[in-house]
Symmetry: C2
Subunit: 220 residues, 2 copies
Amino acid sequence: MDFRLTDMTDAEIEQELSVVEPLANSVRELIDAVIRTEVDDDRLNAAREQIEAVVESLREQQKPGSYGVPFTKTLHGMPYGNAAVGARNAIAPPLRIEHHPDGSATSEVTLGAAYEGPAGLVHGGVSAMLLDQLLGEAVSVGNGTPCFTGTLTVKYLRPTPLGPLSLNAVTTGNEGRKFFARAELCDAEGPTVVAEGIMISPANHPRHEEIKRLRAELSE
Amino acid sequence: MDFRLTDMTDAEIEQELSVVEPLANSVRELIDAVIRTEVDDDRLNAAREQIEAVVESLREQQKPGSYGVPFTKTLHGMPYGNAAVGARNAIAPPLRIEHHPDGSATSEVTLGAAYEGPAGLVHGGVSAMLLDQLLGEAVSVGNGTPCFTGTLTVKYLRPTPLGPLSLNAVTTGNEGRKFFARAELCDAEGPTVVAEGIMISPANHPRHEEIKRLRAELSE
């Protein structure tokens, strides 16, 4: 895994996001529209040709491979390509996660047609994905460096309707580099899915040591 | 949950897919291009405006809500909006699942930049989503009606690189309406993530009774 510091300033990053976030949002709308549209084949084919032209224009200059997770000079991660939270990734709702002083993490999200599994319901795998992200962030922020999921256990209490939902996660304990956490996905009536995670902090990973060292230097 | 029979013929469905699948594929390319592009802001803004125009054109006639899972007259499900396998859903890779005579299910898939979690690696939640889908299909096809995930346990053995991957799932046993199944996600070196699922067949659900009855009628 790479640990890459970007030389962009915070103002440059903010400028980039101000352009890229509305672009990714337009693609989110497009994903939804392609699922639900009932226009005729001529119009569908015309849409495809227009999209192919946009793709060609965007690909004239592009990063090889994937976006990765570069860090700002002030050591904030930029997971803009992330499948759950990435500002540039139209697959991500995106989940916007709030961290609280008690170490818990919460998020409000509205899931539309693109997140469907059974008719009218959130795909069980999507629920697992969002809960995994929240567990990881609750533990990672508490621990100060990224943690990886070791084991994820997801219990489906009842169907989760598409629409407005909320999530919460909290670290429940640790044994050395193993952290335990619990998260819930809720609709207006309460929890629909609960998850428990055993998250691993790879303490000896050079990337994390470097982040810790750089953070310490910055705070001096 | 609705159980909806479409009055489309198989030929009409095939015609629809021949137009809609390439359209969804163009959106998959677009998602990737938006993550990786490095063109300037003017071009990004122009891309957004073009996409917004396509969305407007597609939305002139559209289904309310989500796509749902209509059934053909020959009782094949059409989960075209599904987040993991949906032909119309650009969030889905889509997973194309093969069912084998021994009851196992397999799939080959290539995951690009849109499925990233840690730099260069598949998001752990994406792995969980794909494994959940495969477990559900292995059990559902074996049981003859849709099953729902009750509990999903996912163990991450090592990081999963973005790129070509394979999945397999098999039902390992059952107790009444509870089915047990096991699935693996593998790269070229072997399994990277394993999952166990307890899947529930809601035997008394009117939808399933109706499907079984219609299937019996069809086979007479």
